[in-house]
């Protein structure tokens, strides 16, 4: 439990990027053994504040105290020396190097050589203490996301961190992995480590943290002293400044089948293959695909969006048989798609936002004529969408990569919904989004449902799926092991099916 003497104290931290005030006069402290939650909307400045603490960004004003003594942290090396470790939102690992090499980077060797034996011994010791085991000689690219995160935590402990910062660690984890992470974090806190935990999932924050600081527009908007006994909606109000009402999913009146898959199988090209997958989504229905990631969800999304050709089975969109499986064909039949990775397959991060927003339909008459683009039309379209979806950015010509996660997701959604798709397939629609942005996205899905669109939502967050979907199919090792009506499904039941147990649907 927290002791009064702070391990780390930040006072009056201010940091601007050009005109954007990312942090303004932020005060924050962590005691040994304390798990502090850091909350805030997308773009509230959480990551920036932690990057200042970790020495990656230089603050414009303010000071940092370690055990009561002021320190200057100009680099990550300084932060590590002060006992501060950080697990970043996007991991800082070199995929082609081994686990041990990633661990030993920057560690002085023994008589000029890399100290392999010493590294292995420490790795084992840390693994035993907190249940964080890793195979030292695997390349990082062979690790699951959860294991990579484990490596990042071990890396920080390896360097003697007494304060561990975790930036949205659970956004990338499956529910079962979250439990493992939490028990490791609790074990570290019990040994006197301070922990700063960032998450958009308020129930996690309530379960794990001892105290919370809420940021809004770069300032401290409030503090929560007893998260466990504070309701999620109270926290949400602190974050957004207003109430967040969960959208109500009315009864559905499903129409004709919009998307059907019958006996679809794929070859084992990359990742898990599909094995004899059949499903159907009707107009005005939302179908959830639950499952631990890596069980064929990617292949399923790729087949439906025409990126991957199955070697057996048949697919129809709005009653028409898909014959060639090309993105162009399925689009023409009325499919809209929001891919899992917004940055790499969603938008072109180095191009203006406007260009990315018309990309799938760049060849249509609306945006090009006689082989030439119509920049005015493209711009006008983007401007209209930016307004309609409240996408926060300087303008349609902004580089897409400069947008925050929530705004990128809104842009992708705007792009697909503008063309009134008959079928929409989305993967992890609200990963990394704050509750306000997630609500907005959910509402849009329900709108589309009311207008007769068939929607497939692939996700790992069971609570979200239960709230949003009419039916939930569970995938395991490339098959659909069962489909449940969400009205009578429970998280426990779905969780069990995700581990391969046969369902009853």
């Amino acid at each position: 439990m927290p002791t009064p003497d702070p391990l780390i104290e930040m006072r009056g931290i201010t940091k601007s990027f050009g005109a954007v005030k990312a942090n303004e006069a932020v005060d924050l402290s962590v005691a040994p053994g304390e798990i502090l939650g850091l909350l805030g909307e997308n773009g509230a400045g959480k990551t920036t504040l932690m990057n200042v603490l970790f020495g990656a960004y230089a603050p414009d004003a303010g000071e940092i105290l370690v055990q009561g003594r002021p320190v200057t942290i100009n680099s990550s090396a300084d932060a590590l020396a002060a006992g501060i470790g950080m697990v970043h939102q996007h991991f800082h690992l070199a995929p082609r190097l081994s686990v041990l090499e990633n661990l030993l980077i920057g560690i002085p060797g023994k008589s000029g050589r890399i100290d392999r034996a010493g590294g292995l011994a420490r790795l084992n010791e840390i693994g035993r203490q907190h249940g964080l085991t890793l195979d030292p000689d695997l390349p990082v690219s062979a690790l699951s996301v959860g294991e990579q995160q484990r490596l990042e935590i071990v890396k920080a402990l390896f360097r003697g961190a007494r304060l561990l910062i975790l930036d949205e660690p659970t956004a990338v984890l499956a529910p079962t992995e979250v439990d493992g992470l939490f028990s490791a974090l609790r074990s570290m806190a019990a040994q006197g480590l301070g922990i700063i935990f960032i998450s958009h999932k308020l129930n996690e924050v309530r379960a794990l943290t001892h105290r919370c600081v809420v940021l809004r527009h770069g300032r401290v908007a409030g503090r929560v002293d007893a998260p466990a006994s504070t309701t999620s909606s109270e926290m949400a109000r602190l974050m957004c400044g207003h109430e967040i009402v969960p959208p109500a999913r009315g009864p559905s009146t499903p129409g004709a089948a919009m998307l059907t898959l019958a006996g679809i199988s794929t070859s084992r090209h990359s990742g898990m293959a599909l094995r004899d997958v059949s499903l159907s989504v009707r107009a005005g229905e939302i179908l959830g695909i639950a499952g631990v990631s890596g069980n064929g969800q990617r292949a399923l999304a790729e087949v439906i969006s025409g990126v991957r050709v199955p070697h057996a089975g048949q697919m129809t969109i709005a009653g028409k048989i898909v014959s060639r499986f090309s993105p162009r064909e399925v689009q023409a039949l009325g499919l809209g798609r929001i891919p899992e990775d917004r940055m790499t397959t969603g938008l072109v991060t180095n191009l203006p936002l406007a260009d990315s927003m018309v990309l799938p339909r760049i060849g249509t008459d609306a945006f090009s004529r006689n082989g030439l683009l119509r920049p005015d039309a493209i711009r006008a379209f983007a401007e209209a969408q930016i307004k309609a979806y409240d996408i926060r950015c300087p303008g349609p010509m902004t580089r897409a990569g400069a947008l925050s996660g929530g705004n990128l997701q809104k842009a992708l959604l705007a792009r697909e919904l503008a063309f009134d798709p008959k079928v929409l397939i989305v993967s992890q629609p609200t990963r990394g989004l704050d509750i306000g942005a997630a609500r907005f996205i959910h509402e849009k899905f329900l709108d589309m449902r009311a207008r007769g669109c068939g929607i497939v939502v692939i996700g790992e967050d069971l609570e979200e799926l239960l709230m949003l979907c009419d039916r939930i199919a569970v995938m395991y090792e490339g098959r659909i092991v069962g489909t449940l009506d969400s009205a009578d499904a429970t998280i426990a039941q779905l969780g069990l099916m995700m581990t391969g147990a046969e369902g009853t649907g």
């Binding site: 990656a56 680099s75 190097l97 060797g109 890396k155």
Partner: protein
């Protein structure tokens, strides 16, 4: 054809391969260190020429061969530092800066050479290194005289390969080099200075390119001519890809190239048919292009190659 085959196993032919491979090995290792840290150094061609010039000049003025080698190494390291200053510290385009370094170094080499030696009808030359037979080993038939009766710079190249592998794979510094070339952000957050590590790797690379230049003007030709390097730097860049950024493979690639080049020279000399000699000259380069095309399909460059590191950018 028999004539050709017979010549392959001659002492002279083997020795020629080794001699052609030596500057390529130095240059390739140099480029490899630089690229492993994420910095393409297109300045290599010019750095080799300038180092060849300073090495030659230092020797011909002082009479000391080793002083010449030292001058070449220092020149290479300095030009490496210049390239690093622009590409690492200032984060400018590696292509543009590299070509700039080559043009500048070549120009400077010509200019200084003219300034010091003027225009002479017979180009000045120096007394080169003597070969240094290694006792016992040099008595092995065929292999001995070809491989173990060589110049000290050749032995240095032979030692440089395992040494480079040791440094790159077994030392903390080598790990830092590989890490800043793969994911500089990871290195930075582990407390490693990306800028310093890249500077060091590019400077070390430049020094090795300097050795390559020194070998050309002080061992291979005993003189400095304007066409001295004639594309060997560019070849080294290709060999790094061919060698998949690994010291052993890169050295192997240099040997292979040297083999084709030596073969080509023999074929020219043996006057095979009425084929114009330019056709033979093309051979090693055609070989490089084909080999590159085949090998580079599954070669994976360091992920952060060409990408400048700026901490506060995302």
């Amino acid at each position: 054809m028999n004539v050709v085959l017979e010549q392959i196993f001659q002492v002279g032919f083997l020795a020629a391969i080794i001699r052609i491979a030596t500057p390529l090995a130095f240059a390739t290792l140099g480029e490899m260190f630089s690229e492993r840290a994420g910095v393409l150094n297109l300045g290599i061609e010019g750095i080799m020429l300038l180092s060849a010039m300073t090495g030659f000049t230092a020797t011909s003025l002082s009479g000391s061969l080793w002083l010449g080698v030292l001058a070449a190494v220092v020149t290479g390291a300095l030009m490496g530092a210049v390239h690093a200053l622009f590409t690492v510290a200032l984060g400018l385009s590696q292509h543009v800066c590299g070509i700039g370094v080559t043009l500048f170094s070549s120009g400077l080499a010509y200019f200084l050479y003219r300034l010091i030696f003027g225009q002479q009808s017979v180009p000045p030359s120096i007394k080169s290194f003597e070969t240094l037979p290694i006792p016992v080993l040099s008595d092995i038939p065929v292999l001995g005289p070809a491989v173990f009766n060589q110049f000290s710079l050749v032995y240095m190249a032979m030692a440089a390969v395992p040494l480079a592998a040791l440094v790159l794979y077994r030392t903390p510094w080598g790990l830092s080099v590989r890490m800043v070339g793969e994911n500089p952000r990871a290195a930075d957050s582990a407390g490693v200075s990306v800028i310093a590590t890249r500077f060091q790797a590019v400077i070390l690379g430049g020094a090795l390119m300097g050795l390559a230049g020194a070998f050309l003007s002080m061992v291979q030709f005993n003189a400095f001519t304007f066409g001295l390097v004639s594309g060997r730097g560019w070849v080294a860049i290709a060999l790094v890809v061919f060698g998949r950024w690994d010291p052993w493979r890169s050295a192997g690639a240099a040997l292979l190239f040297a083999f084709v080049d030596a073969l080509q020279l023999r074929m020219q000399a043996s006057g095979l048919g009425h084929i114009p000699y330019e056709a033979f000259l093309m051979l090693p380069f055609i070989f490089t292009i084909v080999a590159m095309a085949v090998m580079s399909r599954n070669a994976v460059a360091p992920s952060a190659l060409l990408k400048p590191f700026r901490r506060e950018e995302r």
